[in-house]
Structures are given as structure tokens and as C-alpha cells.
């Protein structure tokens, strides 16, 4: 037997492990997405029937139905944002795996007469997964928090100040409530699976540059990330065709602002040698210069969902279309930030 022939089964196993890791990351992406859109049927489908759940120091909850009931009771009617970061996943067998995730969550219950009620949390999940009938499911779930902050009681301003009109109009837009389930299948079909997985990586990096260049306001580099016929749809009518028009619009919108954009939990599917689609959770933070007279802050923090298509043009993946909608949109507090960081002695 040649070396190459001996290597083939090993390579197949390695590719399978990469596919399993992708499937588990996308399982968790759907976990966050169905939780935040209160799509409880989809949420229930992510767990094995006999899953076990440990939240903080509470007694464990046995069974997926009981856990979904508990979560629904705690969160129905709330606005929540859950973003997951930096998974560490170990495949223990073809049908068993372990993983840990870092969590940033933001949960708000309806205000009472005293003001806002809710929390911002910084947590960590430790989970196990089991493959059932070809699909990975969460089999055990444990969530602990590194820190939990109670939200300040003071209400946020109703309407954000500063920036273009579209930012204020966004308050009127229907927020994302129900997102059609995307099976988020791993790369499939014939072809070279390793190459398809590498394409997924390359597309993720296009999106990383998308966020980095817009925050750097490097418009020439940013323009290169889109196909010429790029189309954007910002929920409910706001629609731009053509990459040049889109870049000009964003450039105008962000003039004088400081922005931060972070993408999370991508689900990317390769549809053909030059076609793909994907979905991202978004956190953005846009601030325009403060009011010159009052010093009040102008800006917003948004939490959204982006659905995109990608096309490979001359060997390079580009963003061909995007649909953006927001789960929540917070005006910045009006009060100016302190001028210096107390406690920072370095």
C-alpha cells in the first residue's frame, strides 16, 4: 500500500471532525437565535429529549421539555440578546462531543414604576453534545456567570439623537420577531469537502474585514468586499442597489461618527463552486459627536441579524446581497461619559 492510500482514511476522519465541529457551532448559533426570537419549537429541537440542565447553583432540570418550559416562563415577553464567543470543542467519538462557550447576554423585563429591570451577563457554557439520527443535539448544558450586572434603573432615552434620519426611523421598524429556520447544513454535495470548509473560512474573513474596514472608515478597501451589483435591504423598505451607492450611503451616514461592529455565530452554507449564503448576529455601537451646547451623547447600540449571499468573483469571495434587521436598538444614555478611566494606572 502506498503512503497516499494509507493516509486517505485518516484524512476522511479529519474532514469528518471538521464537519462535526462546524455543525456543533451552528447548533449553538441556532440556540442563540431561537432563544432571542422566542421560537420555542425550534429551541426545543436543539436538545436531546433527556438533556440535563444546570443554571447557576439551582437544582438541575431534567428533560428538554421541562427546560424549555422554564426558559419560556422566565423570558417570554422580554427582550433578550445572547451572543456566543470563542468555542472550544472536543470530539470524543463519532456521536459524542464536549464544548465550552463564552456568553454575553442582555436580558430586560418590562420596566416597573422604579425604572428598568434586567441584567447584562458575562457567562460561560459547558456542554456535551450527542449525534442523534445524524443531527448534533445538546445533551447536557451548564451555565455559570463570571459576572452579572443589574441594569441601571434609569430609563434609556426613547429616541436616539444624532446621525441620519434612518437611525430614528429604525425605532418605527418592525423588529425581528420570527426568523425563518435555516437548516444551516454543513458544506454538502460532492466536490472537495476540505475545499468547501476552507471557502467557509474565507467568507468569514471577508465579513471580518467588512466590519474592520467600516470601523476604520477605509472606504476603498470596504468597496472591494462587495460585488458591483450588491443589493442591501434594511427591513421594511430601505433598499439600495449597487455597491457604489451603498458605500456612498454608509459613508455619509457615518461621517464624523465612531463606530464599532462585531459579528457573531456565523452559519455559512456553500451552495455551489461560486455561490454561498450565510447568517450573522450583529452588535453595533454608533456614536456621533455630542450636542455642542448640552454635551448630550448622540448615538445608538444595536443588536441585529444579517442574512447574506456571497459570490466568488475571479477567485475571491464577495458579498452579493445583505438583509439587515434589528432585534433591539438602544439609544445611548444622554449623560456624557466620564473623561478618564478611574483605576487605570498603567
Amino acid at each position: 500500500m502506498t503512503d497516499a492510500a494509507a493516509e486517505a482514511p485518516v484524512q476522511e476522519l479529519q474532514v469528518q471532525e471538521l464537519l462535526d465541529r462546524k455543525a456543533i457551532r451552528e447548533l449553538k448559533a441556532r440556540y442563540f437565535r431561537s432563544l432571542d426570537t422566542k421560537d420555542w419549537d425550534a429551541f426545543r429541537g436543539l436538545f436531546t429529549d433527556d438533556a440535563r440542565f444546570g443554571l447557576l447553583e439551582a437544582d438541575p432540570i431534567e428533560g428538554a421539555d421541562a427546560f424549555v418550559e422554564f426558559t419560556r416562563g422566565a423570558l417570554d415577553g422580554t427582550t433578550t440578546v445572547h451572543h456566543g464567543h470563542t468555542p472550544e470543542i472536543t470530539i470524543d467519538s463519532p456521536t459524542e462531543a464536549r464544548g465550552s462557550w463564552v456568553l454575553h447576554d442582555y436580558v430586560e423585563w418590562p420596566s416597573d414604576p422604579g425604572g428598568r429591570r434586567g441584567m447584562e451577563g458575562f457567562g460561560r457554557y459547558d456542554e456535551t453534545y450527542r449525534k442523534v439520527d445524524g443531527d448534533w443535539k445538546i445533551a447536557t448544558w451548564r451555565l455559570g456567570y463570571l459576572r452579572m450586572d443589574a441594569l441601571p434603573r434609569e430609563p434609556l432615552p426613547d429616541v436616539p439623537l444624532g446621525g441620519p434620519d434612518i437611525v430614528r426611523e429604525d425605532q418605527e421598524r418592525p423588529m425581528v420577531r420570527s426568523l425563518a429556520a435555516d437548516p444551516g447544513h454543513a458544506a454538502s454535495g460532492n466536490g472537495d469537502l476540505a475545499q468547501q470548509l476552507l471557502d467557509v473560512e474565507k467568507i468569514s474573513e471577508v465579513k471580518a474585514r467588512y466590519f474592520r474596514f467600516v470601523d476604520d472608515q477605509d472606504w476603498e478597501a470596504w468597496r472591494e468586499l462587495f460585488t458591483d451589483d450588491f443589493i442591501v435591504d434594511l427591513a421594511d423598505g430601505y433598499h439600495i442597489e449597487g455597491a457604489d451607492n451603498w458605500v456612498a450611503a454608509v459613508r455619509e451616514m457615518t461621517t464624523g461618527s465612531r463606530t464599532v461592529h462585531h459579528g457573531h455565530m456565523q452559519e455559512i452554507t456553500i451552495d455551489g463552486p461560486t455561490e454561498a449564503h450565510g447568517r450573522w448576529a450583529l452588535a453595533d455601537y454608533l456614536e456621533w459627536p455630542s450636542d455642542a451646547e448640552t454635551g448630550e451623547r448622540h448615538g445608538v447600540k444595536g443588536y441585529g441579524d444579517e442574512q447574506e449571499t456571497y459570490r466568488k468573483v475571479d477567485g475571491v469571495w464577495k458579498i452579493a446581497s445583505m438583509r439587515l434587521s434589528y432585534l433591539r436598538f438602544d439609544s445611548l444614555p444622554r449623560t456624557p461619559l466620564p473623561e478618564r478611566v478611574a483605576g487605570l494606572e498603567v
Binding site: Q11, Q14, L18, R21, L55, L56, A58, A74, H83, H85, T86, P87, E88, V102, H104, V107, E108, W109, P110, G114, R117, G118, M119, F122, R124, Y145, L146, R147, M148, D149, A150, L151, P152, R153, D192, A194, Q195, L198, E201, S204, E205, K207, A208, R209, R212, D215, R258, V260, H262, G263, H264, T335, L337, P338, E339, R340, V341, A342, G343, V346
Partner: protein, 163 residues
């Protein structure tokens, strides 16, 4: 092994290396944190004096990092220069808080937004961070008012949680 497969395996390994970096710094697990770096790591944070050597850097972080921290990494961009050398860019959101001012009770700390520019080296089959440059895009000081002491509105186990 195909080049594509090898690159995928290396990418996964580097992403999990950075995941451990974040997890260990927030858990103050300094032995684990030390292991993510090459012995001769070169570090540049903002325009501070550069730091050379993993032991020196770990001692610095241990001293300087806030008592309560959360570091979140996003959107890696990784490029390979050779089978044992790579470069990466990561976006960071961090939240660093020191004990409140003893006299006024005011909060001390910041929420930061930054980028890491890093290099990696494979040493004895394991990827390590060999160079780290951290540049903040913005750093918001915390508002001085103390946060409420209790989470309101949620299930009892949250209302009763120690913050």
C-alpha cells in the same frame, strides 16, 4: 495531506488557542495563560513600553488587569506564512473593573473595543502566540454611579443571585 485540510486544522487550533487566552485571563488561571505564549513572546499594548518574554508579560497582566474582567474575541482573520508561522487579527470587546473608590463608592473601570494583531508559531506541534499588539479603537470609562445591587424582574434565582 491536502493543503486545504492542513490549513483547516491549523486554523481551528489557532482559534482555540485564542479562546484559551481569553478564558484563562478572565479566570485568572495564570499557569494556563502562560502556556499560550512562546517563551520569547513580544508584546506591544497601545504605546506602552514593549514587553519581551512570556514570564514578564504574564507577571505584568497579573498585576495590571482589573479584578473583574470579561474579554470577548471576535472575527479572526488568519494568514499562514509557512507551515509553522501565521498571523492573525482579532476584534476585542473587554470590560475591566477595579474595586470602587473607597471614599466615594464610585465605579472604576472601562468598556473597551480593540484589535489584536498577532503572530503565531508552531512549537513542538502546538501553536503559540509569538507576538501580540493591542490597539484600542475606543475605551469608554464606566459611569461612576454604582449599579443596582439586585437583578429585578427575572426568575427568583436571578433576583437572589450575588452580584
Amino acid at each position: 495531506m491536502s493543503e486545504a485540510l492542513q490549513e483547516l486544522l491549523d486554523r481551528e487550533a489557532i482559534k482555540e488557542l485564542k479562546a484559551r487566552y481569553f478564558r484563562f485571563v478572565d479566570a485568572k488561571h495564570w499557569d494556563g495563560f502562560r502556556e499560550v505564549f512562546t517563551d520569547d513572546v513580544h508584546v506591544q499594548i497601545m504605546d506602552l513600553e514593549p514587553i519581551d518574554g512570556a514570564d514578564t508579560f504574564v507577571a505584568f497582566v497579573r498585576e495590571a488587569v482589573g479584578e473583574r474582567t470579561a474579554h470577548h474575541g471576535h472575527m479572526p482573520e488568519i494568514d499562514f506564512d509557512s507551515p509553522t508561522e501565521a498571523r492573525g487579527i482579532w476584534s476585542l470587546a473587554d470590560y475591566v473593573e477595579w474595586a470602587p473608590d473607597q471614599e466615594t463608592g464610585e465605579r472604576r473601570g472601562f468598556k473597551g473595543y480593540a484589535h489584536y494583531h498577532e503572530t503565531y508559531r508552531k512549537v513542538d506541534g502546538e501553536w503559540k502566540i509569538a507576538g501580540l499588539r493591542l490597539v484600542y479603537r475606543r475605551m469608554d470609562p464606566l459611569y461612576p454611579e454604582p449599579l443596582p445591587e439586585q437583578i429585578l424582574g427575572g426568575p427568583a434565582l436571578l433576583e437572589e443571585a450575588t452580584l
